[in-house]
Symmetry: D2
Subunit: 452 residues, 4 copies
């Protein structure tokens, strides 16, 4: 148990001042996103004195985490930064002395995701790996693991900040807030992506555009886009783009029309809610054509990425990573950490407990909204009432989320069924029962709470 003292020796000079360097622990360090994150650390080196990065993973991910470790070392070396890099399977030991912990893990890997997407589709129901029954299964598998991590943090480094990217990010963050005392902020790259897209449509600098958001993770809405004090969202909505923010997902043309009718810029995930029929048709066709679901596609992308990462000459983030769907992920994450560390009162759009910001939702509901970020954490800015046109959907999804968390924590099958019935992609209790039974069976190894 020697990491803590060791870490305290790490010292750097920042702006003439001698400061203790930061220890960053990446749980799920074998993820293909790791180079993205490290690039962010390198770019913010001037204000964020990271001295150590530990990649934590599970033994079955050893190959990937080792590849990442080597690449990360090469990246820091190229950047001429003295950062200690290592990997470990001993999570608790890694956490000693941690300042920031980032979680980007996937319980069960992409094989589990593939099941999450396939099983519901057998009953004509969209799996959707974050907001649908697929995301529901992912939450059941993930929440207990994240709570375990939290209990380690509570014991070992209670002052550390946990930045959670693990999907379904909003649900997982709410579970952490409800069942642990860890200081946690949930993060997603969709809001920053929407901000950049809006700026691009207007032809302005995204840093000068102040976008206000409301809603939940993967069910978020941009309500205003202020440029120099003027709300230019109507202009943004008037411009239709073929590509735009819609990453990972192929874009449905009518999305822009609906957004315009709503007067809101929409998270690309809202396609699943508003164009379910088309999405089901597309996914069904992909499977029929042997292409599989997005999970299968991602598996291919990942395989190719790690081949690239292995290349000993590679010492920067490879361009191919952008295809993976994590655009601006490092920007969002590292700027958030930077605002905390430097106590800067910057505004970020993150997943936090509502505390009255959206009056329709309960105080402990995790929402994705604009917050002031400083050393105390994330304080919501007043968001105001949900637009009536999306209020019902948001409230319905939040009820589903609350029940999902309860099911994940208790392992109660009836609550799990009632959660699924509340999922907007599930329209029939019969389907819900069948999907639940198959999902529980398929993921049995990762769901001990349901099989004690």
């Amino acid at each position: 148990m020697n990491s803590a003292p060791m870490n305290s020796l790490l010292i750097q000079l920042v702006g003439g001042q001698t400061v203790k360097t930061l220890k960053v622990v990446v749980i799920g360090g074998g993820s293909s996103y790791t180079p993205e994150l490290v690039e962010g650390i390198i770019l913010h080196n001037a204000t964020l004195p990271v001295g150590e990065v530990i990649l934590v993973d599970v033994p079955m991910g050893e190959e990937k985490v080792k590849i990442n470790e080597a690449l990360v070392k090469r990246m820091f070396h190229k950047a001429e930064l003295q950062v200690e890099v290592s990997y470990t399977f001993n999570r608790k030991e890694a956490l000693y002395g941690a300042d920031f912990i980032l979680t980007q893990l996937r319980v069960g890997g992409l094989e589990a995701r593939s099941k999450d997407e396939h099983i519901p589709l057998k009953y004509g129901v969209l799996g959707q790996e974050t907001t649908g029954p697929g995301g529901f299964a992912k939450a059941l598998r993930t929440i207990p693991v994240l709570l375990d991590i939290c209990h380690d943090i509570e014991e070992v480094c209670p002052k550390a900040w946990l930045i959670n990217f693990t999907n379904p990010s909003g649900i997982v963050t709410e579970a952490i807030h409800k069942y642990s005392k860890v200081k946690c902020i949930g993060l997603c790259n969709v809001p920053i992506g929407m901000q950049y897209e809006a700026a691009e449509r207007l032809g302005v600098n995204p840093k000068e555009l102040y976008c206000k958001f409301t809603g939940l993770n993967h069910l978020s809405f941009m309500t205003h886009a202020y440029y120099k004090g003027i709300d230019r969202l109507p202009e943004v909505l008037g411009i239709s783009e073929d590509e735009g923010i819609v990453q990972n997902i192929e874009k449905i043309e009518e999305m822009d029309i609906v957004a315009n009718q709503l007067g809101l810029m929409l998270s690309p995930y809202i396609q699943y809610f508003y164009f379910e029929k088309s999405m089901i048709a597309e996914e069904t066709e992909n499977i029929r054509a042997g292409k599989g679901t997005r999970a299968n596609e991602v598996q291919e992308v990942e395989k190719a990425l790690f081949e690239i990462y292995k290349n000993k000459d590679l010492d920067v983030k490879p361009v191919e990573l952008s295809k993976r769907g994590g655009a601006r992920y490092s920007e969002a994450a590292i700027e958030l950490i930077n605002s905390i560390y430097n106590n800067s009162n910057d505004i970020h759009v993150v997943n936090v407990a509502n505390r009255g910001s959206i009056p329709e939702l309960s105080d402990d509901a995790v929402v994705e909204i604009n917050c002031v970020i400083n050393k105390q954490g994330a304080t919501p800015i007043q968001t105001g009432n949900l637009p009536i046109t999306v209020k019902g959907l948001v409230e319905h999804v939040k009820a589903y989320e609350v029940l999902t968390i309860e099911a994940a924590v208790t392992g109660d099958k009836t609550i799990a069924l009632l959660a699924l019935i509340n999922n907007p992609f599930v329209h029939d209790v019969g389907d819900a029962k069948n999907i639940l039974n198959e999902l529980l069976e398929a993921h049995k190894a990762y769901l001990p709470q349901f099989f004690h």
Copy 2:
């Protein structure tokens, strides 16, 4: 304009007291439910001194309203009550001096209902004539007519009470509360049906069972069933019945299981929300088999009923009426009027403005809850938070209702589309557009607000 003075001459002796008799106006007097209502008036004659009943209808309904007029006269005669009975197409004149107005009209008749049910099904969507896109179209047709009636009432008999049965009863009542000053209470026979069913399962006198409800019209839940101070709802839920409250609709077996899991007794209409797939399959099969939808079935029943009503020997409510689906309709309606007239502080489950009774819903949202009824009207009893297991659905449907009312009043097609997108039976914006276009076109004659 002579009804007002004439009416004031009607005097009866009640309990030794001389009182002004009551004038009851039935708008949609040609409905097959009219004998049900009249039976109620007869049964409550001891406390409710009705002196005049006017049946108001439109010229195309002349045949039916004439049949009803004759039957009603025979019924009062048989009961040895001196009640003036007449029919008219002049609504405003009929309203002079009215004490209670009952609305049971159907804009466009059963033909329109048939379209409401058929058109959505073309896109694989349940029409459902009260809670689905069918009910949506019905609301668009009905709200302007009801508001017209209200403006007549405001002018001619502002102190009269409007008891609204016209479906979708909750939505229509909310529109009246928002856009007129008429004293209006919305009524549905589902809650009283559920109360009788619960009593039957327990083997107790329904009058001694105090049932607490929450939710919206046709989306209502019994949360408690107190018998002598003890909540016996768990027992009620433990008893499965083949038939039970489910009138009009064939009952799905799993309903009782879900109800048990929820810990709530469910309105039979909740089958549409929870067993959509089965309901679609059933309706599709019925159409394929040439049986049509429920509208077509009801058309047959109605035709047969009026044949019976014509019979000059008939002077009581015929037993065949109970098949029509309005069981306990007269009981609910006349007991409500009785509680108002006699200022009795009885508790009824009615549709009223929420005013904080269900904290999650806005003050002006019309909800179906327990109210104290007296001469001042209906005051909600504290209902408390919605159970988390149905909260999301109720909130989602309420958002749909609010938008539907706005669309009906403004004739704004975009709002109409956004309303439909919020309807829990509609899962795809593409479907919503197609269904909306077809419904508007099909009901053009009844939707002038959309075609000016």
Copy 3:
């Protein structure tokens, strides 16, 4: 421990039915109000089959409770009712098998009250034995005793109803709701007194007047007075009466003017809030003139009453009791018990947890409002927003009450001070400190929680 089985033998015939008779326990049975209560029981004998009355008191009150026991026996005898009557100092034993428990005790007796009234006045502050610093001291003494009683009830007769009259009734009831599971309703005779007064002013039958109340115990406001559906409160307020509801307290003329300006009928206790200066002047003068405070006056009245009660020929409630200030006390209490026992859904104005009825106050705040009463207890009717003209005062007093309860339960002197600072009669922290110190010292024997 044999009362329980004994009690179960008591059987009476009510309306042809054989029913178990009721056991009523009066804690503070030596109170001069006891004959009032017994008169109520006698008057409601037809619907309320009381079989046993036990008067519980403390040894120092033996003389009075014995006098009461004898009088009560004579009263039941005169009424030809077979009710077992006894007295005891063993509270817990008395509670076995109890159906209704009434608390009308005064910790420290009238001597303590006299101190409550005198001490604050030394600093120019109104004592006021229920709403002022006097009531504060009374709450500190009383709450622990009531919670002790509640713990006995939880153990011995958890299904019994506790009807609490002990002042400050609202505060004590809130403490019981927060710190015990006992089924408790708080009661005061002010609302019924105001209703009778309003009826008298209108010249109508009080039973036909439906009065709506808002606010807190001894800070209550009549907002409507419906007679046959018409709100006649404006008329009520237009009539000024010299005497009216103001019992116990001499009436200040301007009260009627203020009430008229507010559009609200006012509890007589509001004189203390609105005419503090006059009340201080009056009390100071009374003391100067050797008349003492109201406590001293009441001591005289009590002494005289018990002289009368001793009279062996007396077998009804003596008329002199009405001077004591408890008018309609028995009416309110016994009708409440009657509504519970007979499950009648009657509406009473009682002290209950708010649960959203007054949106400005928290759900667990005890308020004095209209409730539906049945075997399940008291369910608030929607009251609505507090009038802005009294909202601030009500909210201020509620904050004082919450802190007072916390101080009484914890014995924390700082919280006690902060409570006093929030009392509207206390205008200076210096006074608060002095008054608090003197009160704690004076009542040391009754405030062990502050002196451990």
Copy 4:
């Protein structure tokens, strides 16, 4: 009408960019605070390109405004800034093309203030010129004038920002929000003073201390004082200072003790609420001793100040101004304007509409809380529930404020009386009536709304 075009010619080079310079209009330009403000403009010249300052006043203030004009010109000259300076009595003309309008007027001058302070004291009631009956009278005089200004702004320069310092600042700002569309932020120097005091006690840089506030203007509470992420308020409260923030008012020793007990740092104005008796004694003694009230003292200070301002050699803010009580006034004001102009998302403590930030207060209640400031204005950060220990007082005062605004706008004497009854310094309706009558009479010339 030539100011608008003229102004548009003013161009300055800021950071290499050509920008339109800003026009600042100071209403009440003859105030002794003007040099404070101008010093702020000079100090922020690098980021705030002010091109024109117009001092607006009324003819009776000509002497003072002329002295100020000359001094301001000398100050800008000394600072080598090209800023056009003028004064005018034509308010509306001055507003053409304005970017920022600052209001620091005093309707009726210090003579009126003196009456505000003296009249209530005749009845033993604290006048208190901002929070007491004195402030009430000031609000009645001031609100109509401010609304007149707002109507000019709406017509002439609707995009301009109004920064309101005019006391009672919270009440006046709420009136503006309720009765005009002007973009207005209310400002007070108390919060910044408290922040500096807290920093001084801790020995840290005030710019690095992040203080959270709750409450109302002149009834504000610091709830947290974060230094590098740690809440050091407990330390702050543990240090007692003789002088501290208490400017204008002599400090009462016990204030620090109470603050410690509350766990809150207190606005110095809270002395009036918590130590009323001492404050009354002090003011009474001052008058008896011929010293008069604070108004009389300020009159002397002002006279001396303008003697100093006249000095042609003076070209900076004189040190004597700090005695006047407006410390950090310029800092607060100009930094606020700077954050708006530069769209900087800084956090300031200002008076804005609550919009849910403090859940206990209504959305349109003006509160003094932490806000994000940018070109869109001030958006509240989530403040959370009021501490129960001060909740009642804050709510009571807010009710008083709401009624005061209504009285000021309607000129309704009954509402004015009910407002006064709700003022925490008024304890008796009799006093309220007398004070109201005298105040209305004394200020008749400035209260036309009450005498039409």
